[in-house]
């Protein structure tokens, strides 16, 4: 049989029905200035053997750099069983099922995933995942606007300590639905958002405040004070968290002081990549979202529940999806369903294998390595810690000259030295956001510090050689 769905005759017939003369005409509404030229350097077709060889050659050009990059995606050790199990035929699909009658095993994995995300975040309900951390924040903003019945506002306070790329994505998605994101500045010495910076907004109508913990700079926000302030002003709290950090930090469901009338974040979201998903050039990753039961119908996505069948036997089923696009069309809570089923499966296996204790050990080791890295690098002349606030497993380091040439020189030596913050935070001067996870050894850190010393202070190199 032919695997080509439409014959030339089929295409001609369909075109004649709609009154178009050729297929390209269907794309006429795209301005010609936006249409890219043909891909000059991509050959038309290669055999399996040829493409295999080409791709291994290209891959070898990457080398095996020593990676101190973080800023939202993190290199962690992934135990071999994680992907050995995740890629078994029974699990090997990118898609979260739509059908209530989907495989019980697949549904159970999602149920376990939701249960673990609820436990980590201290929330009551979790959806079955979203695309990634950035779009999860956008969805959380839209959820908050729908959920906050005390407010008619579509404005949300977004501190500048939120990952700037998350903010850009949230602006693109939620901004086009008339949600307005307003910036809140951070304290230059501590590197975090102070309640003082929120005070000018008190008494104004906002749907929510976003709090990222640890924040983009790796610094821990004073979440209790921020949450109490938000709730006192009838705003919901959207928490953006690194799920790994929750093994050692207070879960967002418990943020706020015990004496406050309402405790905890209202919506929690973030990037699931640290949980067993490889960096792989930026994706596929997965986003997560959890919330309180009272907002469950405002949350996008679907939920798997545990139930019993007609004979009283335990089983799993899709319990909430009525607000999704295949049912609600244009009135859906979100047009983002999910095709991150496989990465979610890997994360569920990763969490199951490590357990609470193993996860805490990874988090603690990453914190310790980053402290070691900061100590080693700030011992180099011309390098200093920028913020005084306590951190998790990332830190901002300041330099006495622009960092782009330094990063290029480090890359020559096989070291990815960090993320240059000058694009998003020029006011901080030359700065790098650095991260060391449990994958880095003391030797790795010493090698990085020595390379920086040699590049920053050539006299040191000359002395060493003499």
């Amino acid at each position: 049989m032919s695997f080509i769905p439409h014959t030339n005759e089929d295409v001609a017939e369909m075109l004649s029905v709609i009154g178009a003369s050729r297929v390209d005409e269907l794309f006429d509404e795209i301005p010609s200035t936006l249409v890219a030229a043909a891909l000059q350097r991509v050959p038309p077709a290669l055999s399996e053997m040829e493409i295999g060889r080409l791709m291994s050659e290209r891959a070898s050009l990457d080398g095996r750099p020593l990676c101190f990059l973080g800023a939202g995606a993190y290199e962690h050790h992934i135990p071999a069983p994680v992907w050995a199990i995740a890629t078994r035929g029974e699990f090997y699909s990118a898609y979260t099922p739509y059908q209530a009658e989907a495989s019980q095993g697949t549904l159970q994995v999602i149920y376990e995933y939701q249960s673990m995300m609820c436990a980590l975040t201290g929330m009551e309900v979790s959806n079955a995942s979203l695309y990634d951390g950035a779009s999860a924040l956008a969805e959380a903003c839209l959820t908050a606007v729908r959920a906050n019945r005390a407010s008619t506002s579509r404005r949300i306070l977004v501190p500048r300590t939120i990952n700037p790329t998350y903010r850009q994505v949230a602006q693109t998605i939620a901004g086009n639905q008339n949600v307005v994101l307003e910036s809140v500045d951070f304290d230059r010495s501590q590197g975090r958002t102070l309640v003082d910076a929120l005070l000018p907004h008190a008494g104004s109508d906002y749907a929510a405040v976003v709090v990222q913990q640890p924040n983009y700079f790796g610094v821990l926000e004073e979440v209790d004070a921020l949450v109490d302030w938000a709730h006192a002003n009838d705003m919901l709290v959207i928490a953006v968290v690194n799920p790994l950090s929750l093994a050692v930090l207070k879960p967002p469901g418990e943020w706020g002081t015990p004496a406050a009338a309402k405790r905890g974040a209202d919506i929690v979201c973030g990037e699931g990549q640290p949980l067993g998903v490889p960096l792989s050039s930026g994706g596929p990753y997965f986003g997560f979202m959890t919330t309180r039961m009272q907002y469950v119908r405002q949350m996008p996505g679907r939920i798997v529940g545990r139930t019993v069948d007609a004979d009283g036997r335990e089983g799993f089923t899709l319990t909430l999806q009525a607000r999704e696009q295949h049912i609600r069309r244009s009135k859906a809570n979100s047009n983002i369903c999910t095709n991150q089923g496989l990465t979610v499966t890997a994360a569920t296996i990763y969490l199951s294998l490590l357990g609470a204790e193993g996860l805490a050990r990874v988090a603690e080791a990453s914190m310790a390595r980053t402290r070691e890295l900061v100590t080693a690098l700030t011992a180099v002349r011309g390098v200093h810690a920028v913020f005084t606030g306590e951190g998790f497993h990332e830190a901002v380091l300041g330099f006495d000259r622009p960092v782009a040439p330094l990063l290029a020189a480090l890359a020559q030596r096989g070291i990815q030295g960090g993320v240059d913050l000058s694009e998003h935070f020029p006011e901080l001067g030359p700065c790098l956001l650095v991260c060391a996870t449990e994958t880095k050894t003391s030797d790795d850190i010493a090698r990085y510090a020595q390379a920086v010393d040699e590049l920053q202070n050539p006299a040191a190199l000359a002395r060493g050689a003499a």
């Binding site: 019945r149 119908r297 009525a322 607000r323 049912i327 609600r328 009135k331």
Partner: protein, 132 residues
């Protein structure tokens, strides 16, 4: 359609009913036909009292196990009450669509605003037509 339609109500083509209250306001619900078509209802989302609705505006959502459907206000006015009992017992909509399963009460902007609604005979004819 075995049951007779209450003839003191007005109806819409989208299967809502309208009851005129002694104070001149109206009570709104969904018809027996609508609840049967939707199946077992599990959740009802109602407008907050004080909200202004325009005729034909989507003002509530009724959700069954597999679908969520909009309810359109048959009239224009201000919502003065919504049926709080539906929050915990949405099945009232299935059990008593013309009574305890009412959705909301609205104070009309304009007493003439009910024009265009069907009477019981008109709605019965619509149902008969839909069945064919």
């Amino acid at each position: 359609m075995s049951d007779k339609l209450p003839d003191d109500l007005h109806y819409t083509k989208s299967h809502e009913w309208v009851r005129t209250l002694p104070d001149g306001g109206v009570e709104i619900g969904i018809t027996d036909h609508a609840q049967q078509a939707l199946g077992d209802l599990v959740f009802v989302e109602l407008p907050e009292p004080g909200r202004r609705v325009a005729p034909g505006e989507s003002c509530a959502v009724v959700e069954s196990v597999k679908a969520a459907s909009d309810i359109y206000s048959p009239v224009g006015g201000v919502v003065i009450a919504s049926n709080a009992a539906l929050a915990t017992t949405p099945e009232l909509l299935n059990q008593a669509p013309y009574g305890a399963g009412w959705l909301m009460r609205i104070a009309l902007d304009d007493q003439g605003a009910r024009q265009g609604l069907l009477d019981a005979d008109g709605y019965a004819a619509l149902l008969a037509e839909e069945q064919n």
